[in-house]
């Protein structure tokens, strides 16, 4: 596939005046870019800025409303995705779309065989296994893709794109949800790839990846090019800090939710004393074990969450954090141990029963109901509350996240990632829960959006909401939580107050990945 004549003077990719309009919405508006051979270009911008649309246009999944795309000197504007892929444009999806009912290896073989239908079987298998080895999926080769958790599905996206032997690789947020040590591995992989392919375009919110991998940077905002240039220079610009990087880099702490906090108590179930006998915690896990089939994921978890507390669970990927959240919300039945709610053991209760006890989950991957509008998604969660009560809660949620009011009639999944996450939180609030489990809510969000979400969470906490936060972002979790537990290999390796943990060298040790 790489046999086409290549003129080094011709840029690998040239997009000129690219636009994509959906009705009146301009997802991408007059964006031009040139990718010389050997360049790694980063694309950053707030959620909803049009970054994924741009990838869709370049990869051929979307037809541009206007503009032209030249790949290797050939105009490919009218070519469908399959033809562009065969020319050597590989892409990944931000929300992974593996072939769920095929094995991981078959997922790669599909690319191999579509490209070279008559390749020797052994050669194809060797090539696939080599890619799986590099992307850390070798042990999962014979598993159905359906069995992979979100982050490994993201790896599969990369592996599958590599099976295409691409000349240009478009990576859409492959770094989301990784901890530092994993980000380090990914950076090494991207650098190795950059030497093999002729060009790379990376959409990423993890700034370390952007800084360490991308020579050039393009900032997109509201579908338009906001800034462009060398990575260091672009990241240093004030304009970019204002629309994208937010507080972590600019210093100021805007708190758009502070004003809404006063009304929030109405969303948080009153901590009625009769429901809370002294000394009985809201949630208590005793020596809890759980797993999937033969794989034991949780091996003896003890955890207490008292009313009004904010408890954070930290840990690397694969430590069992999401499994823990799923056990608490009743999605996974523990194999041993006790799950006590208000002092009563509820092992074996279904998710709907747990929900009725006032425990609500804000799930990883958001899980918005696509056919329903924003308002319908919210109202659905209010359950059997009276009509007046439901509209009162709806108003309060709109107070916390004003953008949801603006978008209330829109389809739930048509919004940007950050807005969808706000909807997911709003939905959890609508049931007027006593405890919300927030499972990796910052996954794949722009820094500035994370600020907004955590400001909202802080306001909720101030209003007295009990929360269990499962988080990758150590700093934000430590800022918010009273008590912190660090998980490792299915058990809690370290517990303490946020201040104690912050200064504990073991945390750094666990997170950077030298603990083994």
């Amino acid at each position: 596939m790489n046999g086409a004549p290549q003129d080094a003077a011709v840029p690998l990719l040239v997009a000129s005046g690219l636009s994509k309009h959906y009705g009146g919405v301009r997802a991408i508006d007059e964006v031009s870019l040139t990718l010389p051979r050997g360049t790694v270009l980063g694309v950053i911008g707030p959620n909803g800025a049009g970054k994924s649309t741009l990838i869709g246009l370049l990869g051929g999944a979307l037809r541009p409303t206007a503009g032209r795309i030249q790949f290797d000197g050939v105009d490919v504007t009218g070519e469908p995705a399959a033809e562009r892929a065969r020319r050597g444009i590989g892409r990944t999806y931000q929300i992974p779309r593996p072939f769920l009912d095929m094995t991981v290896r078959e997922n790669l073989l599909a690319a191999q065989y579509s490209l070279e239908p008559f390749i020797g079987r052994q050669r194809a298998l060797d090539a696939c296994d080599g890619i799986l080895e590099r992307t850390g999926l070798a042990d999962a080769a014979n598993l159905a893709a359906r069995a992979l958790p979100l982050l490994r599905r993201k790896r599969l996206e990369v592996a599958r794109a590599l099976a295409l032997k691409p000349r240009l690789l478009l990576l859409d947020e492959v770094g989301a949800g990784l901890v530092d040590s994993e980000v380090g591995d990914l950076i090494a992989l991207i650098r190795a790839l950059a030497r093999e392919v002729q060009g790379l375009i990376i959409i990423e919110h993890v700034l370390r990846i952007v800084r360490e991998c991308c020579g050039e940077l393009l900032v997109v905002n509201f579908g338009r090019k906001l800034a462009e240039g060398h990575t260091a220079a672009v990241l240093a610009s004030e304009q970019v800090a204002a629309v994208y990087l937010g507080t972590a880099h600019a210093g100021a702490i805007p708190s758009p939710q502070a004003a809404a906090a006063t009304g929030l108590a109405g969303l948080v179930q009153a901590n009625a004393p009769q429901a809370e006998p002294a000394g009985v915690p809201l949630l208590e896990l005793r020596d809890l074990h759980a797993g999937y089939g033969l794989a034991r994921v949780l091996t003896g978890i003890d955890l207490v969450v008292r009313t009004g507390q904010a408890v954070a669970i930290l840990g690397t990927n694969g430590a069992g954090k999401t499994t823990l959240a799923s056990v608490i919300s009743g999605l996974i039945r523990p194999s041993a141990g006790e799950l006590r709610i208000d002092g009563v053991n509820r092992v074996g209760a279904g998710p709907h029963q747990i929900a009725r006890l006032g425990i609500s989950q804000c799930m990883e991957g958001r899980r918005i109901f696509a056919p329903l509008s924003v308002a319908e998604n919210l109202l659905l969660a209010a359950g059997r509350a009276s009509k007046a009560e439901r509209s009162r809660r709806l108003d309060l949620v709109y107070g916390v996240f004003p953008v949801l009011r603006e978008r209330r009639a829109q389809g739930g999944t048509s919004m940007s990632g950050g807005q969808q996450q706000m909807l997911a939180i709003g939905r959890a609030l609508m049931s007027r829960p006593r405890l919300i489990i927030f499972d990796e809510i910052s996954l794949g969000l722009a820094p500035v959006v994370m600020d907004q979400l955590y400001a909202a969470l802080a306001a909720l906490r101030a209003a007295g909401l009990t929360m269990l936060i499962v988080e990758q972002d150590v700093q934000r979790a430590l800022d918010l939580a009273d008590e912190v537990h660090v998980m490792e290999h299915g058990r809690i390796a370290l517990s303490g107050t946020a201040t104690q943990i912050r200064d504990n060298p073991v945390l750094r040790h666990l997170y950077i990945g030298t603990a083994d």
């Binding site: 990869g59 051929g60 999944a61 469908p80 995705a81 399959a82 033809e83 892929a85 065969r86 590989g90 892409r91 999806y93 779309r97 593996p98 072939f99 769920l100 009912d101 095929m102 078959e106 997922n107 073989l109 599909a110 690319a111 065989y113 579509s114 490209l115 239908p117 079987r121 052994q122 599958r160 794109a161 099976a163 295409l164």
Partner: protein
């Protein structure tokens, strides 16, 4: 090494199937007329079910257009044989005509995805039926009669056996080969498949043509058996519904589905032959029960039971 093992397994399976087919062919001389008639019907339905399973189970193309291809095959066979051609030529023509129809409508129906594809194929078969009823040059509502003599029951049984053997080989190739990987990729996510260079249209078209040829040949056999074709029967919805019921009851996407489903449906039909109304109601009831409690059908149940048995004997 794994490749060797799987090659050995395929060879063993092929040898086993060959023995079964030859045995059936040789023994068929001693079968009663009833057994031949019933056996032929089961084989024909199995062939159609295999074809439909390729589309729906492996390709995700849930078609309600089975009757169109069965009908075209039957009419072409009768038409060609009435003009003096021999049976082999007529069968070839029937298969080709079905393939041609598939090619002709592919552009239109593949523009539709999911449920729309299903409804599109249904519209196609209904439109064809209405056309055939009203199109006088092809006999209109009365249809056509087959002038040459037809083979006897044993001959028909052998033809059905041969057709099913061909279908089995074709299905083995399509479901074990690299083609099946591409087809399943398109089934699971058409856009993602395109993004890694798979041309969804071609892959779907290939499966559609394969299946249509088998359906056309099945229709040809049915026309030969009846000695006459008319639009209500040959383009009738019952072909579509029967085949769908067989695969659902048998187990969608599983190779055993055709055998188990056909035997089950034909046996049920025979047992309730005197109560046609009851037959329909019971088939419907069974479909509901299967969909609710055994979504992978009888084949899925069998596999699950076999696994449990093996585990308990090992323990």
């Amino acid at each position: 090494m794994a490749a060797d093992a799987s090659a050995q397994r395929v060879a063993a399976l092929a040898a086993g199937l060959l023995i079964v087919f030859l045995a059936l062919a040789l023994l068929s001389g001693w079968f009663s007329d009833y057994a031949l008639e019933l056996g032929g019907r089961v084989l024909l339905l199995m062939t159609l079910a295999e074809a439909w399973n390729l589309l729906a189970g492996y390709g995700g193309l849930v078609s309600l257009g089975t009757a169109s291809f069965v009908g075209v095959g039957a009419y072409v066979l009768v038409g060609v044989m009435n003009r003096g051609a021999g049976l082999p030529l007529a069968c070839l023509a029937a298969g080709l005509a079905a393939a041609a129809l598939a090619l002709l409508v592919s552009r239109a129906v593949f523009r539709l995805r999911g449920l729309y594809f299903t409804v599109g194929t249904l519209a196609l078969s209904e439109a064809l039926r209405l056309f055939m009823i009203n199109f006088q040059p092809l006999g209109g509502a009365t249809g056509l009669f087959l002038s040459p003599d037809v083979p006897g029951l044993r001959g028909l049984f052998l033809l059905a056996l041969g057709l099913f053997a061909a279908a089995t080989i074709l299905m083995e190739l399509a479901t074990r080969s690299r083609f099946s990987i591409l087809l399943r990729a398109v089934r699971d996510d058409e856009d993602a498949a395109a993004q890694i260079g798979v041309r969804p249209f071609r892959i779907k078209l290939l499966a559609f043509v394969f299946a249509s040829v088998l359906m056309g040949l099945g229709g040809a056999l049915q026309g030969l058996k009846l000695g006459a074709v008319e639009p209500y029967g040959m383009f009738g919805l019952q072909w579509t519904v029967n085949v769908l019921a067989i695969v659902i009851i048998g187990g969608q996407g599983l190779r055993l589905a055709a055998l188990l489903g056909s035997v089950f449906v034909v046996t049920l039909g025979e047992l309730l032959a005197s109560y046609p109304a009851l037959h329909l109601a019971i088939t419907g009831l069974i479909l509901i029960i299967v969909i609710r409690f055994a979504p992978q059908g009888l084949a899925g149940l069998t596999i699950r039971l076999a696994r449990r048995l093996r585990r308990s004997t090992r323990a």
